[in-house]
Symmetry: C2
Subunit: 379 residues, 2 copies
């Protein structure tokens, strides 16, 4: 293997792939990046794989001799990220695992492993494919990822569920306490009979890497999602993110969303968020509960917290309220995370009773629905 | 107590004082900030004290009623830091420990403690005083603090030693492996007979807070250092940092610094530092040892590292060398930290043999001397 490439290109691709390198590899070879140099196409391919999440990224280089090798991922990344910009050459002799990296100021020898031991990334030979616009995909992920469960024992709830809605792909995530749904519009996809029963749940960590790959290499317009019974593959022009699917049936979340509301409130998103951040200082020291008091007459939303040994707080915001006055309590963290993951200037809160869920939606833009369950309080 | 002050002023002063609030207070009152409102002078004073380090800061405010109270430091700081700019009023009734904070958007009640339980900061009634220019002080601290020991069992080595040199105050710090000395110039102080035998060792953490206070409130030109047998007090116009002194005699570090050198090398500081940062990637995985090979003929400094199971690295820099060729090894961390804490474009390395210390000095500016002990290697 013998190649020359640009330092910053190698660095960008390494810093993308390294996210699929496990911190505690179950097999030594998984601590490596598989580097494949292809003289025919004058390209380099980097692959990392933790047996669940896989990332492959490729870029143009001057390849004098094809070859492949597994190089310790962190070591290579740490050195390349500290090198000054300029050409870098990588070379190793056939059947040797020592790679020589030569830069303008010196050279490094890195002890790696044979790439033969490196497992192949899963591929989908016989499955379905959906083509998703990059902006649609990013919007769907941003609007739902925060709502997945971080508790590995929660199985399907640790992922985002993708299904075909009436007008296009629908993204959903719930951790049991709140729910986020994003309905995207793609009439071609919605009309495709073969995609009607699409229903796939993908681990949040793989989707976060996909989002990172898209944001970092923002040249692509569409992403192809291939999937079969066990695996999903997201294919960008120069990158590929693979992941196992999450098994198990996803909760029937649609039935949780009320269709009618007695009270609707419009409020400035940032103002509500920054007020909640202050109230949360006291709520966090007790049980995270914040009381929302909506008053029809004064058109105000009062936020209050009372933590016996610590203190109390009360702030009031002007809102536009249609419907009934109401007092309802929430875990402040869920409402704050919801508001942080919406982009609009104003949001709408839709409510019924103190024990039924609140729906938070942006005013304008893509159809996003955030649902938060209230907390019952004694008054 | 009743007062009104500006949010950002209160916030700045709180974020300074909070550094003296212990994370695990030995007495509950120490988790508080003592707030003293003085109607006579229309000022507020904030005090925090962990029984070793004390910080007091004061600022102008509208004080309607004098009073004092101990308020939970983190709670107050967390709320004030999240409030929008504008006036804030604080009020409590005599003999009550509940303080009401009123801002433009609402109000908070914070449960505190009586300030009577809050210990007084140490004061120096009968000691010595040195007046130090702010720039001199900051330069002395920046040039030495990094070299103090972080190991609490190392007693005096956890502090910076201040003594009167031939031309002014001298700062020194050593952790047993390296030494940093900054000689400042102040002929008035050096000529003052009463200061001739000044020798005081001050905990590094107190000096870091002093540096922060100076940088944050950069209106002062001089700092007064008062000290007696057990305490030091740094007095700025609106701030005061107090600390216990470190007991015990400080090592006679002067005798460690060679007076003559066989080899002198001038090298670009940033270039040497960034090269060492790359070499350190491999050195850190073994024993931190980097070999310096100085060659008189080629006027180069080669840096190399060899870690059997990991790999090896070698880089070369052009230098100006007067004297003998030499191979010497160091713990790469010590050389890097030294270079990071010098400001000059070029530095000079002065050496004798592979087993005698290297002296690193900036070219130009204040007289700073960094000494690093070499590591013996078998070749």
């Amino acid at each position: 293997m013998k190649l020359t490439c640009d330092r910053s290109t190698l660095n960008n691709n390494l810093s993308l792939a390294i996210h699929a390198v496990p911190s505690r590899p179950t097999h030594p070879v998984l601590a490596n990046i598989r580097l494949f140099a292809d003289a025919d196409n004058q390209r380099i391919q980097l692959t990392a794989f933790d047996l669940s999440l896989g990332i492959r990224t490729s870029f143009a280089a001057t390849v004098d001799e094809s070859g492949e090798i597994a190089i310790p991922a962190k070591l290579l990344n740490d050195i390349v990220s500290r090198l000054p910009d300029g050409p870098i050459s990588l070379e190793n002799k056939p059947d040797e695992t020592l790679t020589t990296l030569t830069c303008l100021t010196g050279n490094y020898e890195l002890r790696g492993m044979s790439s033969e031991e490196f497992p192949e990334l899963p591929s989908i030979d016989d499955g379905k494919t959906i083509t998703i616009g990059v902006e649609t995909l990013v919007e769907g992920l941003r609007g739902t990822l925060f709502s997945t469960s971080g508790d590995e024992t929660k199985q399907v709830l640790t992922g985002v569920h993708l299904s075909m809605g009436h007008h296009g792909l629908e993204f959903a995530a719930t951790d049991g306490h709140r729910l986020a749904v994003v309905e995207t519009i793609d009439d071609d996809a919605a009309a495709d009979e073969s995609l009607k029963d699409v229903a796939v749940t993908i681990p949040a960590n793989a989707l976060r890497e996909l989002e990172r790959a898209i944001v970092k290499h923002n040249g692509d317009e569409v992403v192809k999602l291939h999937f079969d019974d066990s695996q999903v593959v997201f294919e960008l022009e120069d990158q590929r993110v693979t992941s196992r699917k999450l098994d198990g049936s996803y909760p029937a979340y649609r039935q949780l969303i009320p269709q009618q509301f007695e009270t609707q409130v419009s409020v400035d998103r940032r103002q509500l968020l920054s007020t909640l951040e202050r109230i949360a200082v006291i709520a966090d020291r007790k049980n995270n509960i914040v009381k929302f008091t909506l008053d029809d007459k004064s058109q105000t939303l009062a936020l209050s917290v009372d933590a016996a040994d610590v203190g109390s707080g009360k702030e009031s915001l002007t809102v536009q309220l249609v419907g009934n006055s109401l007092t309802i309590a929430f875990n402040v963290r869920y409402v704050m995370e919801s508001l942080r993951n919406l982009q609009s200037t104003e949001v709408q809160l839709q409510l019924n009773t103190p024990t039924s869920p609140v729906i938070i939606t942006p005013l304008g833009g893509t159809k996003m629905t955030h649902l938060v369950m209230p907390v019952q309080i004694r008054d």
